[in-house]
């Protein structure tokens, strides 16, 4: 029994860590980025591969959720058509603050090779984007790196800022 007791006199004393609210909150936010399941095209396959066991997003705390109300990260994986544009905006509005967006792949960044009448030329025309991820399609490692970069970005933010919703315009 005794061996499970905390020895307050060892390892620098009491098990207390002093820090700021910002750091604690951002630690929580950056390590539990729940992403909205949002595969629009072939990039969605890479996103699924990133979530599956080989690349394993769960170890970064990124868990795909089927509901925008439980998600704070939207990975726009694929071609956004003009018909779908209003729905991506509606889903983005349904996500709770704070929220972040990764635009994954050439089509989501700029319309990519679909320089046509039916494709939105970059999702940043519809929703504000935090991270643009190049590639066609980006490999799962690239998406992992993007999530880690986004975690760094979140840790740099002030958690106690007035919660101003992000605006495109």
């Amino acid at each position: 029994m005794a061996q499970h007791q905390v020895n307050y006199l060892k390892d620098g004393g009491l098990p207390v860590a002093l820090t700021t609210i910002d750091k604690v909150v951002n630690w929580g936010r950056s390590n539990s980025l729940w992403a909205l399941t949002y595969g629009l095209a072939c990039c969605g396959i890479e996103m699924m591969a990133s979530g599956a066991s080989r690349y394993d997003f769960d170890r970064f705390g990124t868990i795909f959720r089927a509901s925008p109300r439980q998600a704070e990260l939207m990975v726009v994986a694929g071609t956004l058509t003009k018909k779908h544009a209003e729905f991506i905006r509606r889903l983005y509005d349904q996500m709770t603050e704070p929220k972040w967006v990764i635009s994954m792949g050439s089509c989501a960044n700029t319309g990519g090779m679909f320089n046509t009448y039916a494709t939105v030329q970059g999702v940043d025309r519809v929703i504000p984007v935090d991270l643009y991820l190049p590639g066609c399609a980006p490999r799962p490692e690239t998406l992992q790196y993007a999530v880690l970069l986004l975690q760094q970005k979140i840790r740099r933010e002030s958690a106690s800022r007035a919660q101003k919703p992000k605006r495109l315009m």
Partner: protein
């Protein structure tokens, strides 16, 4: 076919000068060559007016008046055993003759023959639906309306199938620009934010090769990341790629390669 001209010395004549080249036509042959088609055509001719008929690539093409389309296809289905409609759509000949060509590709499983029924309608004319005969015509006719603007009579659900319902214009017409007209280019902005947002959001970038090297509000070079909106026209500092901050992350111990142990004995 064009006569063959040797193209060995391409340097001598670098420009393509064959300006009046006409696309080669698929050879047509007479219907009497095929006994099954010939008897079918005779039966069609007893009931309907046939403008032209010939055989192309082993398939009979029958050109009829547009008003007869339901009758002809009903006759083909019920009397002549053409029991499958494998394809139907329209072709835009508006620039050449001001008409749409509507074609119905039929297949007879018992006769092992394919037959194509064609008719032409003017731009503003409508055509009778054959959805009552073939359920597969339902979506094809909706697509025809969506893409070409051909109006179908007596269709049970005459709405657009691919484009949004409030879309303007018919994208598969030859006159429709590939990158969209003004309505298409502003569609998502108008719909989500309203027309007054056009000036703020700005026009689409339709130049796929456009790269703004010094744009730091939207892009960052890997390994040269700078703060949002920083001026990098004088060059940017190098920042080493790192998965985490150098000083480490709060509550997370940084992996140290020095302290790590490589396990060589897997039965350890």
């Amino acid at each position: 076919m064009r006569a063959y001209t040797p193209k060995d010395n391409v340097q001598k004549k670098p420009y393509y000068t064959d300006r009046y080249w006409v696309a080669p036509q698929v050879a047509k042959s007479d219907v009497s060559e095929d006994a099954v088609f010939a008897s079918d055509l005779e039966l069609i001719k007893t009931k309907f007016e046939v403008l032209d008929a010939f055989i192309q690539v082993g398939q009979m093409v029958v050109i009829i008046n547009a008003v007869d389309n339901f009758g002809v296809i009903e006759f083909l289905k019920n009397e002549l055993e053409y029991n499958q409609l494998s394809e139907m759509s329209a072709i835009d000949w508006l620039a050449q003759e001001g008409k749409f060509e509507i074609f119905y590709q039929m297949l007879s499983m018992s006769k092992r023959k394919r037959l194509r029924v064609k008719c032409k309608i003017a731009e503003k004319e409508s055509i009778q639906s054959i959805e009552k005969l073939f359920r597969s015509a339902d979506w094809s006719e909706r697509e025809m309306y969506d893409m070409f603007g051909v109006v179908i009579n007596n269709h049970p659900f005459m709405k657009r199938i691919l484009m949004p319902e409030d879309w303007e214009g018919f994208p598969l017409r030859k006159t429709y620009p590939l990158q969209g007209d003004e309505f298409a280019q502003w569609y998502e902005v108008d719909k989500i934010f309203g027309k007054e947002a056009r000036e703020i959001i700005g026009p689409e970038n339709r130049d796929p090769a456009r790269v703004d090297r010094y744009d730091t509000t939207r892009f960052a070079r890997l390994g040269h990341e700078v703060p949002h909106g920083a001026d990098i026209s004088q060059g940017e500092p190098e920042t080493p790629l790192c998965y985490q901050e150098n000083e480490g992350v709060f509550l997370i111990e940084k992996f140290d390669a020095e302290k790590s142990v490589v396990i060589s004995d897997r039965d350890r």
